[in-house]
Chain length 381, copies 2
Amino acid sequence: MSLAFSVSAVDRESRARRGSFMTRHGRVETPVFMVVGTRATVTGLDPTDLARVGAQVLLGNTYHLMLRPGIEVFRRVGGVHGFMGWSGPILTDSGGYQIFSLSADRTISEVGATFRSYVDQRMHVLSPERSIEVQSAIGSDIMMVLDVCIDSRSDEAATRAAMERTHRWALRSLAARTDPAQALFAIVQGGVVPSLRVESAGFLADHPFDGLAIGGLAVGDSRAQREEVTHESAELLPADRPRYLMGVGTPPDLLHAMLAGIDMFDCVLPTHLAWQGTAFTSTGRVRLTRGPSSSVDAPLDAACGCATCERFTRAYLHHLFKCSEPLGPRLVSLHNLHHYHSLMADARREIEAGTYAAWARTKLDAIDRHEHSARRLGRTA
Amino acid sequence: MSLAFSVSAVDRESRARRGSFMTRHGRVETPVFMVVGTRATVTGLDPTDLARVGAQVLLGNTYHLMLRPGIEVFRRVGGVHGFMGWSGPILTDSGGYQIFSLSADRTISEVGATFRSYVDQRMHVLSPERSIEVQSAIGSDIMMVLDVCIDSRSDEAATRAAMERTHRWALRSLAARTDPAQALFAIVQGGVVPSLRVESAGFLADHPFDGLAIGGLAVGDSRAQREEVTHESAELLPADRPRYLMGVGTPPDLLHAMLAGIDMFDCVLPTHLAWQGTAFTSTGRVRLTRGPSSSVDAPLDAACGCATCERFTRAYLHHLFKCSEPLGPRLVSLHNLHHYHSLMADARREIEAGTYAAWARTKLDAIDRHEHSARRLGRTA
């Protein structure tokens, strides 16, 4: 296995663990939050910005990048790192989720998926082998296998069929990899059926994937189901490889999942909410477009040391959003990503000290209290 | 006069001059290009970015800022500098041009303009005194008098009437100023009628304005008319005060106007065109959305040392624009503003050396050649 993942500390009262692994573009300290940069860019931020907020790993997307700029560009320039100017590690998702959620005019068979491009309206094929070929050209440090995503509310027979095809595709992906220095993660499926999750984790753990991901969540399931599957699946995954919970989530989601021993996360929330004017702060979420922010001549978060909080007030950010000025989303993106990365850095320290569980519960209580009090007071800030 | 403007060098073969003046927020080296930040922000860029591209002075707009965030905010926080985090000089336009070009439902009388706010649909009054009151609250280093803008194609009687009202308003503005540390510039009007321009410049020069601006251009006039008025007006303006050509222009416009002895410029072009994907380069304009850029694995401009050219290729910028990613306009804005400020820094050096005229003509020829060759070849880059 190519990542040389090692665990340096385990929390005293939970399964939370502190580790690291090595990629061709540097070491990654876990647990890690990875920043979503679907189209070889994180909306409005450049690689210097990302390094400043503490980003370790960026996430690209095979489906989007194969359509634009296309595999030929990556072959020509030698991969996505040079193309976008990011010299740190990059993980690429395989496109399985996009085939499920985005593609119009798609057919999925044992061979792979056929779908119409939103760029040039032509038909494209995304098979397990093609996904690996594209990810090889992209030159990501960690590739994901193409998986079959279905709605969590599908019946058990359909969920089993999708899981079994995901397994066959995972083995085809492994066989298609040409450069073992590019790590390859498999994706555990099985919907919200515990026995299927056990079966999927067991099957994939028997093969030499460099890491294992929990997929197929946040597609019709409830938050309670999601947490249950996360905890059960994390326990089933081998301890010697990184565990990656795909597409999750809010700060409480991360705190919970780390308790279960998850090592890797990605989520669009910090940047997505920033573009809507919502900031994460140490005292709860702030919706900058709302009136109360207009008179706050203090930083977004007094406890934050990010480049936004060091320089600008909530009143100014409010003004930028009211004017639809692009500096607003940019400054809040910087803040939100700094908030996420600080949370992860704190979590890593607490795990090292063996005090993670108590710390995480205090954090979760505080967030709960802020959100509850915001609801109770009808606060609009 | 509050700016203590002084001229340190005059070009050997033109009226181009090198000078400087002092504001409450620092010294300004002239000739200077001022960056347009209408709503207390330069689209997508923060003050650190602006300092890095070499910006000396930012331009705010009284009309827009009085509507949002409103004068009360500036009174509360002590002005626009702290509000937007820019510690260098700021000039505010008076709103005269916006009343002319933007306002629906407006009436203009000797007292001032009444117009409907695009923010809250209420009626507002912008008189010479009110404009000064708002600019005082904004705390700009240089205020502009409220002027009467009309279409350059208006007849001579209408042009004279607008000019004469502009003069009366200028004197009312001067009388309304409370803090002489805030400089105040008058605006020469008179359309494209030479005798009126002479009259306007003569009238305003007789009063203790800290600088004189040439207004009322680019409102229906041709490029040739604009250049003629600029040259004639510049000659009429007193040598002991800065001459500001409002809202102009392209790099050739700046090069020409400096030959005539203009000291100050502002224009939205570098940022406005950046948002459309057009970059200024040493070999002509590049339209990044066009096909040819997709295969250029080299910087936008090999001769440029900006943060964009140092880090990204044209192919990557093309990709960002094709994906409508906000990083594209941001990176090209940084480049375009760097391009403008480099041009101005070069011009200042050439004037000091006494070689400006020859240098400017070589520059103008080169730009002309690039644009001509782009047209001749039907180039789409």
